[in-house]
């Protein structure tokens, strides 16, 4: 019997399910391995009879939580798909903002019509999660690896090391030494006086050193920097990373802002540990 697979989405952009749809021909091959019974973005059928459930999006309302608990009941294996479900993701930016202000900014006078939690949470804040597929969006190969592993009865192997590993293998010029900047030269040299203004721009900064690899250092390869979308590695040396960011001229506030893009929930958890 093929395992029965279902997808469910909560508060997220559905980009991870799109990655699955975007497998194109490979999706047809995948359908040889599993039977997809719920995939709202693509198919109409709905079923409560499934073995593996993929959860996309964060949990932010009582209604979400109830639905998620139901899914957990039905599924043998529950997989958090994408950063919103796995670590809270971009949604958790607001967790560090004042909840009242948050609602008012978006809904103005109608703010009280909206019933959502003060914080957007990852799936494992509500139910037990068996496997995590990180990324915003997920990496297709990693998704395939996890599905295959589950079909084969294997434990999927997700990297425990930081993005720098893949970045080095790709022989990227480290973000910290871009623009002719030398990473061992003081931050002053990396500051660029913006023409016609007082403002001093500082070089780009990278969260790769504390972010879990698995994306093949995608963003650095493409000329930007790692934003941390796959979340923190298991034992991030954030102190050392902060020192690095400081050396390159980032203020404490800017560092926190960076860490809050995706790490918001994880940081809170680490503090509570």
């Amino acid at each position: 019997m093929k395992p029965r697979v279902a997808f469910f989405d909560f508060a997220g952009c559905e980009g991870d399910q799109l990655q699955v749809a975007n497998l194109e021909e490979r999706l047809l091959d995948l359908l040889e391995l599993v039977e997809v019974v719920n995939f709202r973005e693509v198919i109409s059928q709905k079923s409560d009879d499934y073995d593996i459930a993929f959860i996309e999006g964060s949990i932010a309302t009582d209604h979400d939580a109830e639905r998620l608990e139901e899914v957990r009941e039905n599924a043998d294996v529950l997989v958090a798909l994408g950063s919103c479900a796995a670590i809270g993701g971009i949604n958790s930016i607001r967790n560090s903002q004042d909840p009242k202000e948050v609602e008012e900014r978006v809904y103005g006078d109608d703010a009280d019509k909206i019933e959502a939690w003060d914080k957007a949470k990852p799936a494992d804040a509500v139910v037990d999660v068996d496997h995590y597929i990180y990324g915003c969006p997920i990496d297709q190969d990693e998704f395939v690896h996890v599905v295959e592993s589950l079909v084969q009865g294997k434990e999927p192997k997700i990297p425990t090391y930081p993005v720098c590993v893949e970045c080095k293998m790709n022989e990227n010029v480290c973000v910290f030494s871009r623009n002719g900047g030398d990473k061992n030269v003081s931050s002053a040299k990396r500051e660029v006086q913006v023409p016609g203004s007082q403002k001093v721009e500082k070089g780009p900064f990278c969260l790769g050193p504390v972010t879990r690899a698995g994306c093949d250092s995608k963003c650095v390869n493409e000329g930007t920097t790692c934003w941390g979308c796959r979340g923190l590695v298991d034992n991030p040396n954030q102190n050392a990373h902060k020192k690095v960011l400081d050396k390159y001229g980032l203020t404490v506030e800017e560092v926190l802002n960076k860490f809050n893009l995706y790490f918001g929930w994880q940081q809170e958890e680490r503090k509570n540990e």
Partner: protein
């Protein structure tokens, strides 16, 4: 007409992006309730952008929607660029137009091929097509893949592209890549026509339903507007993008966590059909040819034809992409040394960016302080703008169907098809939709 009770209650409408319910109750042929509800969990992007740096805003707002993340990124960048007066090179503009075509193609092919065609073919989803119509499905997949690979080549990733940054690109494709792409686009004509044939063969399945509607989209003199232009309404004419609030007039309704919008009437429509109605003349001849096969001409008031308008647009996307690539390659690609970090003069200000994304016109509006930190943001998403129109359509269509004596199942299917024709992308209605026939 019977005195039956009719109760349509569709929770979590499938094959759309995001969460919408359709609720319709009728008793004795009388509609008691007819609601399009959006029940997405709010995500508060307009708040999340506050206190963030101008360098990060497009990264954050890209996450509003996975399907049109390229469009969101571009609207966001345009808003930031407008606020800071950042100039773009002509080459970068062409590349941005190209990637917008790619996204539009991707999304439309997904919608027409994976979501609408199964309805037409009488299948519950695209999956059975693998065995019932393998060749047709492969054609659709090929086009979808082409669009995705095109996005990847230009933006570095299909979803949440990386290379698009304020002022331009962090990396650009090589000339060889562009040449290869052009050849592949040219080779896709057969596939495009095959999909057009498929749709034409099923054209009778499109319900004949018309309702006078206001259509709004971008427009400009140069081209069939996606990347740039002013706002055009079939009712009120042309206005500048900066007036977007006067056009969209967003409001909150009880049935939905997403805002609704209206301009001149109770509602208006945006998206492929709106664009086609407004800018038909600027379509490429090949695209017009396809439109003619379906007798699709401006101004068409049948929302179900939005699917066909999408098909027409895909053809236009391919043709225009080839043209853009030719333009790019003509003088050879200009290498840009400062790709990683274009020079930007950070300053305080407000900027509004509008682009056409697959589902219609999209506005991002940011205010920055002199540090380049965002102090306020507003995003008006196409699906939000369509919600009210869906509601209005439904209020007309549901009684029609009931009067025609249709069964509950059929009513449900037709209402679902109506909503799907809009290709609503509810998760990205930063603010939201559902059908319920209540007893």
């Amino acid at each position: 007409m019977s005195n039956e009770k009719i109760n349509v209650d569709v929770e979590y409408l499938t094959r759309v992006e995001g969460h919408g319910n359709i609720k319709v109750n009728a008793n004795d042929g009388q509609i008691e309730k007819c609601e399009w509800q959006v029940i997405e969990t709010p995500r508060y992007f307009e708040s999340m952008v506050v206190d963030q740096s101008w360098k990060e805003l497009h990264h954050i707002t890209s996450r509003i929607c996975g399907i049109c993340s390229i469009g969101h990124t571009l609207a966001s960048l345009k808003a930031t660029e407008a606020a800071m007066g950042i100039e773009m090179s002509e080459q970068d503009k062409l590349l941005r137009k190209l990637i917008l075509h790619a996204e539009n193609m991707q999304s439309h092919v997904l919608h027409v091929g994976y979501l609408a065609l199964p309805d037409l073919m009488g299948e519950g989803s695209v999956i059975p097509l693998a065995s019932s119509h393998p060749e047709e499905l492969k054609t659709v997949i090929r086009l979808h893949r082409l669009a995705n690979e095109m996005s990847e080549m230009i933006g570095g990733r299909t979803t949440h592209p990386q290379r698009l940054i304020p002022g331009g690109f962090s990396k650009i494709p090589t000339e060889k890549e562009l040449t290869d792409l052009k050849n592949r686009l040219k080779n896709s004509f057969n596939d495009l026509m095959a999909v057009a044939d498929l749709c034409e063969a099923k054209a009778d399945k499109f319900p004949d339903f018309n309702r006078e509607t206001e259509f709004i989209s971008l427009t400009n003199e140069e081209d069939y507007a996606f990347y740039d232009g002013q706002v055009r309404s079939t009712d009120t004419g042309i206005s500048p993008v900066t007036d977007y609030k006067d056009i969209t007039n967003e409001f909150v309704v009880n049935q939905s966590t997403a805002k609704f919008a209206r301009n001149n009437r109770q509602s208006y429509m945006v998206g492929a059909l709106a664009r086609l109605n407004n800018n038909y003349d600027q379509l490429s001849p090949m695209a017009k040819g396809v439109a003619e096969r379906f007798n699709l001409k401006p101004i068409n008031h049948n929302p179900f034809m939005n699917n066909i308008a999408q098909l027409v647009e895909v053809v236009h996307n391919v043709r225009d992409s080839i043209k853009l690539i030719d333009e790019l390659l003509e003088g050879g690609l200009e290498p840009q040394e400062d790709y990683y970090e274009p020079e930007v003069e950070v300053k305080a200000g407000r900027g509004i960016g509008a682009v056409e994304v697959p589902r219609g016109i999209l506005f991002h509006d940011y205010t920055y302080n002199e540090e380049g930190t965002c102090t306020a943001g507003n995003c008006v998403i196409p699906t939000n703008q369509n919600h009210a129109n869906i509601q209005q359509d439904m209020e007309k269509l549901a009684p029609n169907l009931i009067n025609q004596g249709k069964e509950e199942d059929e009513i449900e299917l037709n209402l679902e098809m109506l909503v799907r024709a809009y290709d609503p992308c509810i998760s990205c209605s930063t603010h939201h939709l559902d059908v319920e026939f209540v007893e």
